[in-house]
Symmetry: D2
Subunit: 276 residues, 4 copies
Amino acid sequence: MIQSIPDAKLVGRGSKTENTVIAVGGVSVGGPDIVVMAGPCSVENEEQLIATAFAVKRAGAKILRGGAYKPRTSPYSFRGLHEEGLKLLAEARRATGLPVVTEAMDTQHLDLVCAHADMIQIGSRNMQNYTLLEEVGKLRVPVLLKRGFSATIKEFLLAAEYIAGGGNEQIVLCERGIRTFETSTRNTLDLSAVPLLKRWTHLPVIVDPSHGTGVWWLVPHMARAAVAVGADGLLIEVHVNPQAALSDGEQSLRPEKFERMMNDIRPVAHAMGRGW
Amino acid sequence: MIQSIPDAKLVGRGSKTENTVIAVGGVSVGGPDIVVMAGPCSVENEEQLIATAFAVKRAGAKILRGGAYKPRTSPYSFRGLHEEGLKLLAEARRATGLPVVTEAMDTQHLDLVCAHADMIQIGSRNMQNYTLLEEVGKLRVPVLLKRGFSATIKEFLLAAEYIAGGGNEQIVLCERGIRTFETSTRNTLDLSAVPLLKRWTHLPVIVDPSHGTGVWWLVPHMARAAVAVGADGLLIEVHVNPQAALSDGEQSLRPEKFERMMNDIRPVAHAMGRGW
Amino acid sequence: MIQSIPDAKLVGRGSKTENTVIAVGGVSVGGPDIVVMAGPCSVENEEQLIATAFAVKRAGAKILRGGAYKPRTSPYSFRGLHEEGLKLLAEARRATGLPVVTEAMDTQHLDLVCAHADMIQIGSRNMQNYTLLEEVGKLRVPVLLKRGFSATIKEFLLAAEYIAGGGNEQIVLCERGIRTFETSTRNTLDLSAVPLLKRWTHLPVIVDPSHGTGVWWLVPHMARAAVAVGADGLLIEVHVNPQAALSDGEQSLRPEKFERMMNDIRPVAHAMGRGW
Amino acid sequence: MIQSIPDAKLVGRGSKTENTVIAVGGVSVGGPDIVVMAGPCSVENEEQLIATAFAVKRAGAKILRGGAYKPRTSPYSFRGLHEEGLKLLAEARRATGLPVVTEAMDTQHLDLVCAHADMIQIGSRNMQNYTLLEEVGKLRVPVLLKRGFSATIKEFLLAAEYIAGGGNEQIVLCERGIRTFETSTRNTLDLSAVPLLKRWTHLPVIVDPSHGTGVWWLVPHMARAAVAVGADGLLIEVHVNPQAALSDGEQSLRPEKFERMMNDIRPVAHAMGRGW
């Protein structure tokens, strides 16, 4: 079994023993607080986004997530509102005060995404899009780097190293499930990645149980487990009407279920000496 | 994604909504208490076993585990003490009062194992050894059925159905990690299997983070996560001298580390409304 | 990447450089001829079996396959005719002159299987049933050992080593597909296993494209590829009426399609300097 | 199992029953001839490239491959000569007359790659880089699209659909191995993908046994199997001095071994009614 990753020169523990804390808007990721990032898979319209944003804020989420550029397996699926979606996110931030994280799929999107968002997400399919990683490394904006769905932990850390190589060490790593033979879940959430990463890197690590399971009712269970295993935060899909969602409805929580989930994980967070 | 398993007629929730609680010696598995089963991978000698048994009992373990018949990839690896190992387990039970669980690899071992142990373990490699499952189904002894390392949750439940078909419903299911492409860990512990199984079956579900990770220092982290996700118990490898262990030394905890682990998971168990 | 397997002391090339040729009835496996073993997944009744046996013989098959003991995921699926099936196989052998291979699932079946068949098959799910391997090692009967559906090549060879350890080196290895994330096929046929095994062991290696794909029309394509990659034989499911088959109908060829397949692979066999 | 892919509207057989033949320079891919594309993993210097180009041409290769932009897991590995590499490729084309295929990793490279190469390769890690696929779709240049190392066949075809959606249907698909649990090979070459793709799409399909195995001596075996399974061509790594290669030396053939491989596969190609 792999014991260490020598090429993780900048993001590895070898370069820094204390944990890195990253400021996203006014929110600290990687400190004592568990940071929950929540919101719809796709930004669909103003009403949906604003209603969801207020709901997740009320329940304790600290950062709003929402996709304006959506990588989809089929070109005929809904692929996001693009610039209009970014503007709605900025509007939701003004309305709620929540910082915003959203995905950039290409170097061409970076200027626009930076103009409207507080944190750039690099999605699972782009974890080894090295040109994109290098461009993001030149920015001075927090990055949420999701693990490729078939990336080893070593490859994941070295993807972060690409970003850090440009001088941008504001990187939050996100475990989001890996592709296995199991068909009861969309992916297999690899929670052992969290303590492994916390040992090998000084960067914060969060968990996405929505993509990690693909099943809405599993999300609160895996969120609790993620907190217990030492994650610094969670990324959760919430939708006011999952049945009508343009993407990922099956794995999205209604706002009231999200609120219940937050109450459900609080005692475990406290048991870990954390809260929000 | 798979939504239900119609052929799980006896072990499925369709046949019984309340949870099954199984008595192993005087210990209840599947009730409010978290049941920790701990001990060495292999029974090696009297001194090692008795010392480990008292140590795990002191730390809160309720059942002693130890292998007398060891399935090993290479025929040239240590394969257990066989009947002598069973006798040592029985002796450790007398000394400590802890009920004993140990693996039977073949129908030919069943009489001897039943004579010395309180619970028969069916190992991962034998999860689809249907003759063995059926013979165990004819007994009236508790069974610890481990998930095959590449079995889907559906296949796992149907293996339990084979046992139940013979009239023996005293079955505890154990998630122990699945084989994936990741090489930093020995297996990928699939904790989402726990809430899925708890929804689909009335049987108790426990987790083995020792095989699930193959890395001793990951065990306490994953044990906490297992408790938080709703597991009814844990199966943990403990050895008084892991470096000298004849099998699985890399994933075994020393007694003092095991005790620290038990203290470490207690607050999470309490947060889940459970204890031991 | 793994370069060699030191513990393969008996089955490895270290112990013997020339290829082992195994006699099954009067048929040599591992010599210059490609040996095709064909027949139904399950023995269902006399008419089905005899008709299929004559048809596969006519098309060039040299050994008849058919299951009397069927390992099935669900206990409620058809699990074979057991002793009656073995008797029908023996009858088909008398009628056609074809030697017979059939699966034994347990040590308890061995006497009966040996009494009726020329070769004992150890199925994929039992590749690591070490008690069964050791018992088979004590016999002096040819063994067809199928790769576990999630076994590495190393584990596969060491399973053969268990058999050889008892003194029985009449072992034919069979690649039959591994479990992966791909869902268009039942398994992923790993043809690179053939040249790897031919380099690491002196035992014959055959390929089962029926289980390897799970799709009848893919079978002839993969059979051609198997011959081109150097396989010593093929294991093919043939059924007179696949729609009505009690198991594996989707991957079974009708006799006329099997005959076409045999004609189809002959030029490739000749290109490899082989035939039948 | 998946039976068809409705969203493959343009690349699927539904839109066109005859096979698409694509002209790369003067070479037809997808016609009766097997087209072998060969050359070094990375372009390293003029001498290495020109010597290799002449050698592969002499042995029967029809297209020269060579990487100028190299996606590498670690940022500290050799990542290609970039524009200088493209110029060397163009020079090798002038010297040998062989058309050239090389990888573009980003939309920013497209102009430069198109200026120097005859065919653009989209690598495995970029198979779901949808912005890149769409930009390539706007060009009128042949594209070599490699399967993602963990992409299903469905996802692979839908990636091609992204390119075709822009009006560019000059797409050659390349199976190059998938990530599995097996560790004896770098990837598991999934040859069943070839007949599946040939049934579901009208596009040509080739196979890369170099990446598919990661082991140079396995390459000729798997090349033969690829031809036997119906591939329209091969992509082979050849290096004049594999030990000194800056990337992928372990899986590269020396020119004389490549020539022997070409002689080795010719009879199988003839058996399939093809040649070069």
